[in-house]
Symmetry: C5
Subunit: 182 residues, 5 copies
């Protein structure tokens, strides 16, 4: 017997019994669709393989996809909206980084220090998830398959391109948390 601890959409701490380890992801999907989350977002955000981005099942972490009024791809997690950003691959003498897709938002005054990341100037942001490198894990996908559809697929970043890396960095966005559709 397993027991998984959630924070519900109402912020309550609730543990759910699970029959076996093979049922765990089903339970996470079932309650994740209600906006329940388990555990804290890791510092720097969840890390997933890039090849999981196109059909990632956001209910696994209690999140869901959302397209804002400007048609941008966002993800809602615990009532806050995270913007999808593509990070080009970096291949310089100082560092090598494969292409990635990152979901992040501007930091709020009430975010604890250890989740804030610095960008240009005084802007700080918080990352929900980064998809980079790695090997695809089918169990992270939406069951029944939605691969190939959706805006991510078309826009997926590929090999290093000549565009400046800076263009892919998060830019200050006022009150990004207030765009929440709830």
């Amino acid at each position: 017997m397993l027991h998984i601890e959630f924070v519900t959409d109402l912020g309550a701490t609730v543990t759910v019994d699970v029959e076996g380890a093979d049922k765990l992801l089903d339970v996470q999907r079932q309650y994740g669709r209600l906006g329940w989350t388990s555990g804290a977002v890791p510092g720097g955000g969840y890390q997933f393989p890039l090849d999981n981005e196109s059909d990632f099942d956001w209910s696994l972490i209690g999140a869901r996809k959302w397209t804002n009024a400007e048609g941008e791809d966002m993800v809602i997690h615990r009532g806050l909206a995270y913007r999808r950003r593509e990070l080009e691959a970096v291949d310089s003498r100082k560092m090598k980084l494969p292409a990635a897709v990152k979901y992040s938002r501007g930091a709020r005054g009430t975010d604890p220090e250890h989740v804030r990341e610095k960008a240009d100037g005084e802007f700080e942001y918080v990352t929900l998830a980064i998809f980079r490198g790695g090997k695809r894990q089918d169990r992270y996908a939406v069951p029944g398959g939605r691969a190939g559809s959706g805006p991510q697929q078309a826009a997926r970043p590929s090999a290093p391109r000549p565009q400046p890396v800076a263009a892919a960095r998060p830019a200050p966005v006022a009150v990004v948390e207030d765009e929440t559709p709830f």
Copy 2:
């Protein structure tokens, strides 16, 4: 089987067994009426749809309504009184924000840093809940229905009005926590 973790009115950590997910809100209401709470108030406060404000069941988060000696609408949560404030909609070039109702109190010396929000000058406050935008969730309402009654209904903020936004901001209030009726 589910298990919900509460902090009782006496500050004790107590877990209660719940038969199924469909019984969870009933259990939250039952113990919430005693002032028991589950989980921490999210940084920046609970977020609920504005259309839930008029008949919100405060027992869901272990709180209760209270009218102070001056006839103001307050909410008591863990022995502290939060004042009801209406925030006008903002529609400027810099940001767009729908109208909202916020329950907040002045910060106390023992509030941790990550729950304090800055207002004008050196004043800091703490938000319990903000009702803004979104779509009404019937399950958040007082069972049996109290919609339409109460002072909130009459005073509900609507579309942007010419009044200055500043008027809706929290103002410094000395020892707001000491007005607690217990």
Copy 3:
């Protein structure tokens, strides 16, 4: 079934099963007499009605009464001694506060920031409990009744008196934590 989480007198984390909600206070009294506590002291201390002070059952929060060598009323909680202080009612233009009884101690170097309260000068103190206003709750009383006896009764603060408020403020006390009788 309920489950209450304690920190034992030896500092261990132990959960005790409880048959029903009506047995909870009995279990808190039973283990509280051994010095076991459940949950953290709220920031600013526990809040109880003033009318519960005379026969408050300190075992409910794992504490016990103690009279020190100078005959002063103290309370021992987790090995530290808190001094009983009477706070006069305040009725000025700036604030109104009913009379109260407070149990507090001088801050120690290892107390976390969020429990420290500022007094005059550089002195900092920590509050265990404050009894003020409210309506008596019989379930907080010592079972079988001890009301009317004890030094608290005689010394209970009443309506505003002409004495200066400053006299009731906590004064610096060297090594108050070392007076612990254990």
Copy 4:
């Protein structure tokens, strides 16, 4: 039924079921001998009566006695070595303190702020346990009895002596944590 939460010698979080409250110390001894601990060391260290020091059962807190290469009495707790120190009684106009035995170590860079105590100069230390005053509790003793044996007995501090208190204060010791015998 009771349930005690341990951190194992491998750092895992493990809860053990216990039949009744009378079996709790047995379980703490059984797992404590493996180096398992329950709960955090209280700020300022565990407090025990001085009369328990000679035959204290360190397995109750997941620690064990150890004599280092220089023949000094140490205690190992979570892989770190604490040195035994005798503190003379203090009887001055400013404070009165009974004699005590303290187990402490120099602070490490990764120790959180709230466990560090200041000594002379910039030196900081961390206390595991202090034995002072109080009344002997037989249940804290090694079962079967070892009282009267061991180096502590001989060296136990007694009434105030003319030696300077400073001699009993912790002195800076480089890499005391690296003396760990494992």
Copy 5:
């Protein structure tokens, strides 16, 4: 019955029932192979005997060995790569330290203060595990035995050698966390 609390590879908080204490390490290995971890890494890293380093079963702490593109021995733990470093024994007048093997990485902006250790200059690093001194514990080894194989064995540090200690200290490595193979 025992219950072990894990953080899964997806960051969820999950408790697993274990039949008895003798089955605990099996369960830790089983789930650790999936990248599940239990408890926090101790400040300063896990401490193990040096004689366990050659065939240490990293699944016990939810980690796994990995050789990077440059052929260096690394360990992956919670998606971050730790580099293997050999620390020479130190035998000076100021301190004595036996030889050790340390697994560490450069600090990231989101690492909390209490896990950061200072190296030369402004560089900070985080230690996962240090193998030093002590007596081999067979239960920490890979079951079935892999002792004697692998690069560690050949490179194991021995008695003090004339090389400068500084050579063994961690050097700044840009984006070491981005080398994660996932």
